[in-house]
């Protein structure tokens, strides 16, 4: 099970999951404060070559999920339970140095803010070669042409010159491209992108998403896309998981989910997007309230206070995630009627 064992694309869309997350629970414990469960029993699978979306608003636990899988949560003040099996190995119980060997080689991650995610005092080229030196035991001299190739592949013009440039000399889109080059340097089999387009303007967003799509299709890398932007999901993801209050509330393949959302939260998210074909001047439909209104999941549905159609059961009992045969799952007592 080494990085070189898999040829890109060979096992695309296989049935064995590449990453299998089961009952992931992350609890933050601070002295003198009640423990706070940020991620509460999240389970999902990622197959080779597949793109899986984790969608939800701020504070729903999507970033914590990704950091927990990567083993990047702070060493103290939290408790991680459950399993995240990557090719037969549980990443959550893996020794620190073993996990460090895997990060960047087997699993890589792209972050939200491309400027602050680059080391400001090291030229771009050296930041890319650093990954190659670390995981492929290349010398810097040998790694430089590879880094140049990578920068070229992610669409950075004049890569020879960019090798010696510092992050502040690049535009936002270029920086995110450089970060993608670093993440893909060792051809990881899984890429986790945590809101990769949030800090970019719309046209650059489209370019970066296009690039990601192209790269994962080309190399057969599986992609976990974390976002609050349903537009990103619609353009990229095969499967979508909607998170609320640290739990998955709805799951489905992209087309089905967008065509007939069943959970009131998903319909709310979709309804709050401005539409080009909507009436001019018509107000947007927000979801009332904020995440702060959440009920504890143990005794109720956390979304009940903001729900458009709550029933009595919602505040008395906690709904379970119910799977159907078609790969859809739903956590709701009173779902929206299926339209199709």
């Amino acid at each position: 099970m080494t990085a070189t064992a898999t040829t890109p694309g060979s096992s695309r869309h296989g049935d064995e999951p590449l990453l299998s997350v089961r009952d992931l629970r992350v609890t933050f414990t601070r002295q003198g404060e009640d423990p706070f469960t940020a991620v509460d029993g999240v389970s999902f699978d990622v197959r080779p070559g597949q793109t899986v979306g984790l969608v939800g608003e701020s504070g729903c636990g999507k970033s914590v999920t990704s950091l927990a899988i990567m083993g990047l949560l702070p060493a103290r003040g939290n408790r991680v339970e459950g399993t995240a099996t990557f090719e037969g190995t549980d990443l959550l119980t893996l020794a620190k140095d073993k996990m460090r060997d895997r990060r960047g080689r087997d699993i890589a991650m792209i972050f939200q803010d491309p400027l602050s995610s680059l080391n400001p005092v090291v030229p771009i080229g050296r930041q890319v070669t650093e990954v190659l030196e670390r995981h492929k035991s290349m010398s810097r001299k040998a790694a430089t042409p590879v880094a140049r190739e990578l920068l070229d592949r992610v669409g950075i013009p004049d890569p020879d010159r960019r090798l010696t440039d510092y992050p502040h000399q690049l535009s936002g889109g270029m920086r995110q491209r450089a970060l993608i080059a670093m993440a893909l340097a060792c051809e990881p089999r899984l890429l986790i992108a945590d809101e990769p387009t949030t800090a970019l303007d719309v046209t650059i967003q489209a370019q970066i998403l296009g690039l990601l799509k192209e790269l994962v299709t080309e190399s057969g890398t599986a992609l976990v896309m974390i976002t609050h932007d349903l537009g990103v999901v619609a353009g990229l993801c095969d499967e979508v998981n909607v998170l609320y209050g640290g739990r998955i509330v709805e799951r489905g393949r992209r087309h089905e989910l967008f065509a007939s959302p069943r959970h009131p939260y998903t319909t709310g998210l979709l309804a709050s997007i401005p539409r080009l074909d909507g009436a001019r001047g018509a107000p947007l439909t927000p979801i009332p309230g904020s995440v702060a209104d959440n009920l504890p999941w143990e005794h109720a549905c956390a979304f009940a206070p903001r729900c458009s159609q709550p029933v009595d059961r919602c505040t008395e009992q906690s709904p379970e995630l119910e799977h159907d045969d078609g790969g859809r799952a739903l956590r709701c007592f009173n779902p929206v009627e299926a339209t199709s």
């Binding site: 460090r100 080391n119 670390r134 950075i156 013009p157 010159r161």
Partner: protein, 328 residues
């Protein structure tokens, strides 16, 4: 500044706009993604470009340069041997203890007939040695402690920082005196160690603070996400980004060390061998003659002030140039 004619002002504004528009067009011609025209301009390089235009920095740097050159060549250009009692026969302890200026001796001599100018010139050497070595020792000690605390965190951090807090709670000169007084045989080295010891906690705290800020920064998290080893994270990602304030502090510390060392010598805790002149020590020797021959004290004091000022000006403008908030 008189208010300019509105028309001229307007014209200036238009010229400004034209200039900016021109450069915008130039920027647009270059390929997308380029923000700066010169390749490989690091933070240091852009700071240097700002420094070159700062008069404060230039004055400070000029003083420092003159001082360093003088210190290096002083044994060659000093008109006389600073240790030779050349004008001893002119010293009259009762009527005129200090031989005044005369041909060949522009500043006169001291109370044992040694040429004052030569002593001042050669004295710069000792001052430079003390300043530089005290700073280097202080920097080394402080950086070691700061890296330990900043890189490991946890109990190592607590332990190091409590020691630093204790050292910082003692007034710095008092601490230096206490350490210098511990030495059974005072020498230049004990002065250096005493002055350096005072700087260690300052450097340690400074570096630890900026390392801690780096520890939680996004690019350190991103480096960890790429599997970079902990050692590389500390030395390649955290440390280089934390050095700015430390570099600035060391130029300021040079000034402080020179003053502290002079104070130690003045009080007799420095090198007792007065065949090797040193400004603080000269100041101390001038004490009994301060009313009738104040120039004996004024010259070394002036030297100390000017050199310390030079380093301070340089450090302050360096700090300003490296601090993004004060960039213009």
């Amino acid at each position: 500044m008189t208010p300019a004619n509105p028309m001229t002002r307007r014209k200036d504004r238009i010229d400004d706009l034209a200039a900016t528009a021109g450069s915008d067009r130039a920027a647009a011609v270059r390929e997308a993604g380029s923000v700066d025209e010169k390749p490989g301009v690091s933070l240091i390089a852009s700071a240097w470009q700002r420094l070159r235009r700062s008069p404060v920095f230039l004055i400070g740097a000029a003083i420092t340069l003159v001082f360093v050159v003088l210190a290096l060549v002083s044994p060659l250009i000093a008109p006389h041997d600073p240790a030779a009692n050349l004008l001893l026969d002119q010293v009259r302890p009762q009527s005129n203890p200090i031989p005044g200026p005369q041909p060949g001796y522009p500043l006169g001599a001291d109370d044992v007939g040694r040429d004052l100018l030569s002593r001042l010139l050669v004295g710069s050497q000792q001052t430079l040695i003390v300043g530089v070595f005290a700073t280097i020792f202080g920097l080394t000690g402080g950086m070691t402690l700061g890296i330990l605390a900043g890189a490991f965190g946890g109990w190592v951090d607590s332990l190091v920082m409590r020691i630093v807090d204790v050292l910082l709670s003692i007034p710095s000169l008092l601490l230096a005196f206490s350490i210098a007084a511990l030495a059974t045989r005072p020498s230049q080295l004990t002065v250096i160690i005493a002055v350096a010891a005072v700087q260690v906690p300052i450097f340690a705290r400074l570096l630890r603070g900026s390392m801690l800020a780096q520890r939680h920064s996004d690019h350190v998290l991103a480096a960890r996400a790429l599997g970079v080893t902990e050692r590389a994270v500390v030395f390649r990602h955290m440390l280089p980004n934390s050095l700015g304030p430390v570099i600035v502090q060391s130029t300021l510390v040079l000034a402080v060390s020179i003053i502290d060392a002079a104070a130690l010598s003045f009080l007799g805790l420095g090198n007792p061998n007065d065949r090797q002149p040193e400004w603080g020590q000269m100041l101390g020797r001038a004490q009994p003659f301060i009313y009738d021959n104040p120039h004996l004290a004024v010259y070394p004091a002036l030297c100390i002030i000017v050199v310390a000022l030079g380093f301070t000006l340089m450090g302050e403008s360096l700090r300003e140039a490296l601090d993004p908030k004060t960039r213009r």
